[in-house]
């Protein structure tokens, strides 16, 4: 497809994959938008808002479950920060009455959300629905939701309990790929009848993905990079194949040194990092982690990327939460690190 210019190494086949990926993303997004808009107008209640809550819509969620949910529910429980991002960006914050909290009894909001997110989304511990260490149905009933949006961090048993025992519909949103985020945006928009907001948001997301693939085409080579999100005395936790962190690195024009790992979230020993000798190190910050945390990791100062100053910290949420922010903030941030001036 692309030419290998004088002396530069041949373009990695990965770039082709990126382009194909992008085309798929755009097609899926466009298809979703059309389908959702059509569904919305077909199902839109003809009479006034008093009737609205009695209308329902049947959707197919990311796990392939067909769920009948009330149209435009007024009380929504969101059991994952990434879904909360979609809900917020679609202007639906006022519907949210409950959010996930680890160990709700202890005010566990801070375990799931960064201080920025808590402030931006105006979350309070009174909204806590306890999903860990074990699901506590009382905390869910307490916020009296009409609908629950959840990801797979909520256990299958808990989902069944909410659906069958408590009789509250649960829609599972677990995008399999970056483009899946756009599908989820459309899905949420369909339930709440906000096709215009969805089109605007998906437009922004597509724009960012497109920009990134253009950069990929233009650069001579992909630098090798270690993207780590946590550290302990044994080594550096990073993203393996088929994870969002890995996709993000690739679309931002980098080659992850853990792309060939055997597990999705491997811990690389310092010896493995030394031998792979990445050009760049990108580390996730937030949730108590900062540069000095990583600097305390084993053999940190012996890595040539550290010696050369080729390292950068970015928000952990941008690397780990599969939501619009990952695309809108994470991709430009990584591009800026790996290919400055291109984002």
């Amino acid at each position: 497809m692309s030419l290998s210019r004088d002396g530069s190494p041949p373009v990695p086949p990965r770039r082709t994959v990126s382009v194909v990926l992008f085309v798929v993303v755009v097609l899926v997004a466009a298809g979703c938008a059309v389908a959702v808009t059509a569904a919305y107008y077909a199902l839109r209640p003809s009479s006034g808002p008093a009737n609205a809550s009695e209308k329902t819509i049947t959707v197919t969620d990311d796990l392939g479950r067909k769920v009948t949910v009330p149209l435009d529910p007024s009380r929504l429980a969101v059991l994952s920060p990434s879904i909360m991002d979609i809900v917020y960006r679609l202007g639906l914050r006022s519907h949210v009455v409950g959010v996930d909290c680890y160990a709700a009894a202890l005010g566990g909001l801070t375990e799931d959300y960064s201080p920025d997110q808590i402030a931006l989304w105006n979350l309070s511990p009174s909204m806590c629905v306890q999903i860990g260490p074990s699901f506590d149905p009382e905390t869910l009933v307490n916020v009296t939701p009409d609908l629950v949006l959840a990801s797979t961090i909520v256990s299958v048993a808990a989902v069944e309990e909410i659906t069958n025992t408590l009789g509250i519909p649960v829609v599972m949103l677990q995008p399999p790929t970056l483009s899946g985020i756009l599908v989820d945006v459309s899905l949420v928009a369909a339930i709440f009848g906000v096709p215009v907001a969805a089109q605007a948001l998906n437009g922004e997301l597509s724009e960012e993905l497109y920009n990134a693939t253009e950069v990929d085409q233009s650069v001579a080579s992909f630098p090798t990079v270690l993207v780590t999100y946590s550290v302990d005395s044994n080594g550096y936790w990073t993203f393996g194949p088929s994870t969002f962190g890995e996709s993000l690195t690739e679309i931002a024009g980098g080659t992850s040194i853990s792309a060939n790992a055997t597990t999705p979230y491997p811990e690389l020993s310092p010896a493995q990092v030394l031998v792979a000798n990445p050009d760049w190190i990108v580390y996730g910050v937030g949730f108590g982690l900062n540069e000095s945390t990583y600097a305390g990791g084993p053999l940190w100062s012996d890595f040539s990327a550290v010696k050369d100053g080729n390292l950068s910290g970015i928000d952990s949420n941008w690397l780990t939460e599969p939501d619009p922010t990952m695309i809108l903030e994470g991709i430009p941030a990584l591009l800026e690190v790996l290919h400055p001036g291109t984002s």
Partner: protein
Amino acid sequence: MAEDPRRPTSWLLGRASLGLLLAVASILVLVISPLLGSVAIPARDVFQILLHELSGGALFAQPCAGTPTSPRLCGAYTVIVWQLLLPEIVLALIVGAALGVSGGALQGIFRNPLADPFLLGISSGGTIGAAVLYVYRIEVAEADVYLPLFAFLGSVATGLVILGIARGRFSSVETLLLAGVALANLLSAILSVILLYNPNGSVQVTFWLLGGLGLATWTVDGIAFGAVVVLGSLLVLNGRELNLIQLGSEVAQSAGVDSRRVRLRVILLASMTTAVAVAFTGIIGFVGLVSPHIVRRLAGSDYRVVLPGAALVGAVFLLGARDISFLAFPGSDLPIGIFTAFAGVPFFLYLLYRQRRAVTMGGA
């Protein structure tokens, strides 16, 4: 030692063959250890780098010179071998020795072949100490200093609780041992609660729970070495007292051993020695249990021999466990505590079986 009384040659031969086996195992383990790690490095490079560094650059001025390894990769290998593998090997030896000698001393003082710092909860106490840090949300940047410190304090505190029970008036050896086992269970329950409500710290606390050599640096090795040499030597000096205590604390008392004071001293020293090990490597079970038994088989039950012997065997055993973990699962850095348990649990059951038989056969 003055003129040693004659010993029959069969006695010597039986032990010599086992001793030879141990010596061969030691050498094998020591040679093979630097070759095993999460990254496979050619043996020739490893030994050139080792000799280069150990000789201060005099030997093999250009390591990896005659091998296909590029100078850049050789630089990485040097860091790996010298700053990663070697401190880890040395730490394994130190910690193994610490666990071996304190296991031997506890078995002696409790007159029970099943006593072990792990079973008595001294190790679990260290994990609690590390976990407590997460309740107070200490800055993770300082964790390298505070975690070992808290783990050390947790172990010593547990040792003191056992001591408190030991000072009690109605403390037979059996009740003490049972109290220790109960304490260990209580501590693991407390730990579960802490982990349940502090999921952020669970990765680091799990390190203490499973045991590992990941914290090894030359500084850590230096601290551990100093502490273990001092505490271990003080323990070894109790060999004669422990010999007599095997005959019963009253007989020991009548022969001049202040049984109560020796009991307090040995439990305290053994707790502290274990605490040093736990501080840097977390819970590594069964080394303290198995090593003294191996020495008894090799060299009889004289505690003046059993204690230093258990240190030696413990060191080789732990390093061997590390090697086996790399051989069995190449490339992965599995917690070493898992492998000592794999070796230790069957041995433990075997001991239980033998003790049961001894109980039913003896008596009359």
